[in-house]
Symmetry: C3
Subunit: 141 residues, 3 copies
């Protein structure tokens, strides 16, 4: 049993979904993990994680638009707006999605379904440099 | 320390909550796990997982209805509708609930609260055959 | 490798966010955990967990208010109301947030971002005594 640690850097250019499944699988190959559990953690309060459809860009567009609909910037009742109209909304959108993901690893890869991708969900409008903590419990035989 | 793996098959007959806590506990007994962590992962983008009230069917009905209210099929702005009116809505509903659950195991069972049950949340209207990956880190003494 | 277990008791005095990051870090010090994974689990169906902004109280106020907006008590369509107007809404609010959190531990503390705090989200109006199950996979070298 081994414990692997690294931090992914993900640059973002405005709101939206940024896929990083490939980066995690590449890291698993470097570590030569065959099976175990992969824990991903987003140490930000205005960006989050989610797993969803990785094939058709229209699905991702609808996911992004859904948060604009649920948590609109012009709702008028936010009090936490020091950093702009995407301040309170970013925290609320982060709460409705995931701060962390726990994904099984088998045969050297994340055991995602055929249509699943792992995404960083950026909720801020301006350019950011985000981190994702990657932890792997390596139970290769 | 041991690592146990299996895949549950859960047939669904339309949208709604399908309890499977009992199936997981039965599998824990087969593996003779006394304590540890159980990781459940749903490898689908139009079904998801959630933990919620297991006693009164009216609570489950309200949970199902709440997603119909938040993410209505007739909202009119979805672009991802190749597979029908429940296509984009399924992915959005999956995003708002859970792709994975991490539950402690104690005394041979999931350490759920008295009123908690583990559910697959089916978001598609037609009959499906869903999978849930079950992984258990067995830390029995 | 060690496995640590405890249960935190968190008294609540009505709806809202109750920070408990400090309690978890104090427990990590008692166990002398240097690195590993911390799993937090909420065994209730009308309270939940979330990670979010820990600095400006206005951010927390907006998070609380957002659930009042999404899941209003006077929506009129809830059928599960035996325990009052905050009955169905509590379960729905729990579903939209988290039943469990998985957080890396490094250098003896939860590896939270600078602005992140761990919160119990109480969805019931009356005074409660809540529990959070704390499990730590201790991988200190």
């Amino acid at each position: 049993m081994k414990w692997h640690k690294s931090t992914l850097e993900i640059p973002t250019r405005g709101k939206g979904l940024y896929s990083f499944s490939g980066h995690v699988n590449a890291q698993l190959r470097v570590w030569q993990v065959q099976q175990g559990m992969c824990f991903l953690f987003c140490p930000h309060t205005s960006a989050s994680l989610t797993i969803n459809e990785n094939y058709d860009p229209s699905a991702q567009a609808d996911l992004e638009k859904s948060l604009d609909k649920f948590v609109p910037e012009n709702a008028g009742w936010y009090t936490h707006d020091l950093e702009g109209p995407d301040d309170a909304t970013s925290h609320i959108r982060a709460m409705l999605t995931d701060s962390g993901l726990s994904i099984p690893v088998d045969d050297g890869n994340l055991s995602l379904g055929t249509w699943q991708g792992v995404y960083l969900f950026e909720h801020r409008a301006r350019v950011q440099r985000r981190q994702v903590l990657v932890r792997v419990l390596d139970l290769s035989e």
